[in-house]
């Protein structure tokens, strides 16, 4: 009986180890190696393998402008998402304004859509034939019906798409703060804003840093919003180049 228990435990350990190795190699090591290999074995225009072909690709023709557009979007997105996300969380959690629940729910609904569905939703309202644009065009017949496109439209759409994730993590971080520290600071004479900047925000910095990195990468790799709203960033361009081969 004891022997059987040992065997079962041993088999479970072996199974666990094999599963771990499969996940580690299959999902982490091999994809990374494959990407690195592809980068350094890409053929150049002359058809020979060139370790710097990928780097040259980003500097060829109009590509730098796409790279720049992506960087611009990523940096601006970091600013807008942080401003909106922090404001939303502070209003709903820290200052606990009236209607906080509705505001929170409104922002969180974006979590259930895919990127394409969200952008399509915005287009339904603001696109050339969108409800709001049509209504505005009736009032101002000479307005540009394609006003909701390009960088501003992408930034607007992505800001609200990313804010829900941002607020979700930040909300948990702010709820983790010992509220007695806020009360202690108030008791020591600090104004609510002094408490916010001296006590609350420093505690949130590690979370904010992670969210900033996450938002930056999201902006850099944006796909659906630039594609649907007509903004020349690098990711849609890579797909276009790849499909055009």
């Amino acid at each position: 009986m004891k022997q059987n228990t040992f065997d079962a435990g041993f088999i479970a350990k072996i199974f666990g180890l094999v599963l771990f190795l499969y996940l580690f190699l299959g999902f982490m090591v091999l994809p990374c190696l494959n990407t690195l290999t592809s980068i350094f074995t890409t053929k150049n225009a002359q058809g020979s393998i060139d370790p710097f072909a990928v780097i040259k690709f980003f500097w060829a023709g109009t590509m730098p402008s796409f790279v720049w557009n992506s960087l611009k979007l990523a940096v601006c997105l970091v600013i807008t998402v942080n401003v909106v996300g922090i404001s939303i969380v502070l209003l709903t959690e820290y200052f606990d304004i009236k209607g906080a629940g509705i505001l929170r729910m409104g922002y969180m609904t974006t979590l259930i859509y895919s990127g394409v569905a969200l952008v399509t939703g915005y287009q339904f309202l603001y696109d050339t034939n969108g409800m709001l644009t049509t209504w505005l065009a009736q009032m101002f017949p000479y307005m540009n019906r394609q006003w909701f496109s390009g960088f501003n439209a992408v930034l607007f759409t992505m800001t609200f798409a990313c804010t829900s994730n941002h607020a979700l993590f930040l909300r948990n971080a702010i709820r983790g703060i010992d509220y007695n520290t806020v009360e202690a600071a108030r008791n020591l004479g600090a104004s609510p804003f002094r408490v916010l900047f001296s006590v609350v925000m420093p505690t949130l910095l590690p979370t904010l840093f992670s969210l900033t990195v996450m938002t930056f990468i999201t902006g850099l790799c944006a796909m659906s919003a630039p594609t649907l709203l007509g903004y020349n960033s690098i990711n849609p361009e890579i797909v276009r180049v790849q499909c055009g081969r």
Partner: protein, 328 residues
């Protein structure tokens, strides 16, 4: 120093405090004692300004401070969780209130180091992050932070409850010493009756949002005014059956006696048999079956007269030591 006049606090339909009247004198160590949810912390938060009462007034040094904002009350607070700012060093934690008051750097430094020395924090510890300190050291930082701004009174909300038993006793003594040294009026909240009895000059015992009794530790312990206070403070025997009738006690009342007030001897009183004993070193607790009921008795451990389970003894009760309360 602090006076609460007919304080009522309501949270929606729930009445958290009902007609609370407290008078804390200058330099006094005043304790709010009671079980969880009895209203002691709510009373403290009403004094500090975190809760505004539904009715009644809070007076400090003769001035009505009921509607004065928290930061203008000049009351120091030590929280149960210590509430130290985790991103600041020990020094910055203590200096926080002084920086808010816009004192110059030299003055802040002098005050921080002076108070740190008084609460036994070294210069080396002042430079550490608060997370690097032990529970006892964090508590000292919390006290130093509360005292450095020289508040008129200091409020402590169960400051020892996060510590282990041994450290709690050690810090309890230090706390009392510190309070005497600073001479500061202290309001202390605890559910630990031993802590309340050892530290306080005056105690208010809370139950279900009302004060059951206010008095010195001796009043509260030996002259408990209500059955709740008698039961909540220390261990007690409820006298029943044959004992009450033999002593001629009123059967419309409940009768109680403290464990140490019962004597165990060889003659007189009621006959009983030792059921079991608990050995505490300094004293021994006996469970004595007197036929009708089991009485708990504490006897000083003299190392000679130690009874064993099964020993026949006599239980002597002095009627003057019995505390009686109306039934219902």
């Amino acid at each position: 120093m602090i006076r609460l006049n007919n304080i009522f606090v309501k949270f929606g339909d729930f009445e958290a405090l009902r007609d609370i009247n407290v008078h804390v004198k200058e330099g006094q160590f005043y304790t709010f004692l009671g079980p969880s949810g009895c209203g002691k912390t709510t009373t403290l938060r009403t004094i500090t300004g975190f809760i505004e009462p539904s009715a009644g007034s809070v007076f400090m040094a003769g001035n009505d401070i009921t509607h004065v904002p928290i930061e203008k009350r000049n009351i120091g607070i030590v929280f149960q969780s210590y509430a130290l700012f985790p991103t600041m060093t020990v020094y910055d934690n203590i200096a926080f209130g002084l920086k808010i008051k816009k004192l110059n750097k030299q003055e802040i430094d002098k005050k921080v180091r002076t108070i740190a020395a008084k609460v036994d924090l070294s210069d080396e510890q002042l430079e550490k992050a608060v997370s690097q300190l032990s529970g006892g050291q964090q508590q000292r930082v919390a006290i130093a932070r509360a005292l450095v701004t020289e508040p008129a009174i200091i409020c402590m909300d169960e400051p020892l409850s996060n510590l282990d038993a041994k450290l709690r006793v050690q810090l309890r003594n230090e706390l009392k010493k510190m309070q005497r040294e600073f001479g500061i009026t202290t309001i202390y909240v605890t559910h630990d009756q031993e802590e309340a009895l050892t530290l306080s000059d005056c105690i208010s015992v809370f139950n279900h949002g009302v004060i059951e009794q206010t008095g010195t530790p001796n009043d509260i312990y030996n002259h408990s005014q209500t059955e709740f206070v008698a039961n909540f403070i220390g261990d007690i025997n409820k006298l029943e059956g044959q004992i009450t009738s033999s002593l001629g006690l009123d059967d419309k009342q409940n009768h109680f006696i403290r464990l140490e007030r019962i004597r165990v001897g060889d003659n007189g009183g009621f006959e009983g048999v030792i059921d079991s004993q608990e050995y505490y070193g300094l004293y021994i607790k006996y469970y004595i079956n007197t036929g009708g009921q089991v009485l708990k008795v504490i006897e000083k451990n003299d190392g000679v007269n130690i009874y064993r389970p099964g020993d026949k003894v006599n239980v002597i009760i002095n009627p003057q030591d019995i505390m009686s309360y109306a039934k219902g």
